[in-house]
Amino acid sequence: MIAERDSRAAIEAVYRRSYGKFLRVAVAILRDEQLAEEAVHDAFVRALRHRGTFARRGPLEAWLWRITVNEARRGRAANQRDRLASQPVIDLIEASSANGNGHTESSGIELLIAALPERQRLTLFLRYYADLDYETIANALGVKSGTVAATLHAAHAALRGHLQEVKR
């Protein structure tokens, strides 16, 4: 009973301290604020209800990030808007040009991020928006720390290449 209460208090502490970061990452994944709020809410409901299954194989915060990312991914899959996001990036760029919106840096990076492999995209969000260290990201995504470093490097390379293209 004491452990149960301790874990609940620990989950609450993470929620209160980092809610804004959880929400930001969920928004980045879902591109919809309301769906993101629901995903974060549902993630912590799930965490509270299943906190007994937290086996302390890693930090509690990483476990909460994993649940939140999974909830957001589920929400993204369920959202019809995901169909647009999953279009090939080349189609989106062409559509943007055809609409006269121009091929700007910011619109380009949004499209490029949407086109990144999911692991690269999630790693980028957790590193940049949640300010997590490699170990926590590795625990949250279920990969090795070295994989996090390599994934981030690949994501950076893709983004830098895009920015150089835009400058030309």
């Binding site: 629901e38 809410h41 549902d42 990076i109 991020i113 983004l159």
Partner: protein, 238 residues
């Protein structure tokens, strides 16, 4: 990461550092065990009203002491259609001041359905024929048959505050079946049981954390377990 990429990512997704979330809602949904997504406050408010009406109906039923749900339903319909009110009468001079201030209450020959900590739950009939249930500054009138029937063996009202607006909360209930006792369980305290004589009232400390109301019938057979967390979370402010 390059500074320019960092700037673009910053523009891409806004910061939410000022957001605090709703931890109490998270806890309530976790306890409730229901799907938490797409919460609907309006629908919940409507459900509260419907539950309140169901409680009133249950109260009527309990007064007639029906043994079966069908008998209870018949008894409630009879009361709604102008039949004799259940409960015990008290002299007009002994009516509490708060009830005297309720329109038509004194003329409606109010009857006592339940009592807790010196406060009664009353039922009376308006001149128009419609029934009113009063819980101490809070009441329900014009309930219809559809409003009052529920699926549980008891119907619940509240939590309500005493007429003074301070003190312990009251949770009121009306038996819709042969109920012997109800037991309130708490998150951080031992359960508390009260006997049921057709209707019942339970006083709850504001600082307590009631979780469920367990309903027991004859031979202490458990009839139902009603979740109290949502109801408690929406109790009136002290």
């Amino acid at each position: 990461m390059t500074d320019r990429v960092a700037e673009l990512l910053e523009e891409l997704t806004p910061r939410y550092d000022d957001r605090r979330g709703d931890w109490e809602q998270v806890v309530a949904d976790a306890r409730h065990g229901a799907a938490s997504r797409r919460r609907q406050p309006r629908a919940r408010r409507a459900r509260v009203l419907a539950t309140a009406f169901a409680l009133a109906m249950a109260l009527l039923l309990a007064l007639v002491v029906p043994a079966t749900r069908a008998e209870i339903a018949d008894a409630v319909r009879a009361v709604l259609n102008g039949g004799s009110l259940p409960g015990s009468t008290i002299p007009a001079a002994d009516l509490p001041d708060w009830l005297r201030q309720v329109r038509f209450a004194s003329e409606g020959e109010p009857r006592v359905l339940a009592e807790v900590e010196g406060q009664e739950m009353f039922v009376f009939r308006q001149a128009s024929g419609s029934l009113c249930f009063e819980f101490g500054g809070v009441g329900i009138c014009n309930a219809t048959e559809e409003d009052l029937f529920g699926d549980d063996p008891v119907a619940l009202f509240g939590p309500t505050l005493p007429p003074t607006g301070t003190g312990r909360f009251r949770l009121w209930g009306l038996a819709l079946a042969s109920v012997e006792r109800v037991e309130v369980t708490f998150a951080d305290a031992p359960p508390r049981s009260v006997p049921v004589h057709e209707a019942f009232g339970i006083a709850l400390d504001a600082a307590s954390s009631p979780e469920t109301l367990v309903v027991y019938g004859a031979n202490d057979i458990r009839l139902a377990t009603l979740d109290l967390t949502w109801r408690w979370r929406h109790r009136p402010a002290l």
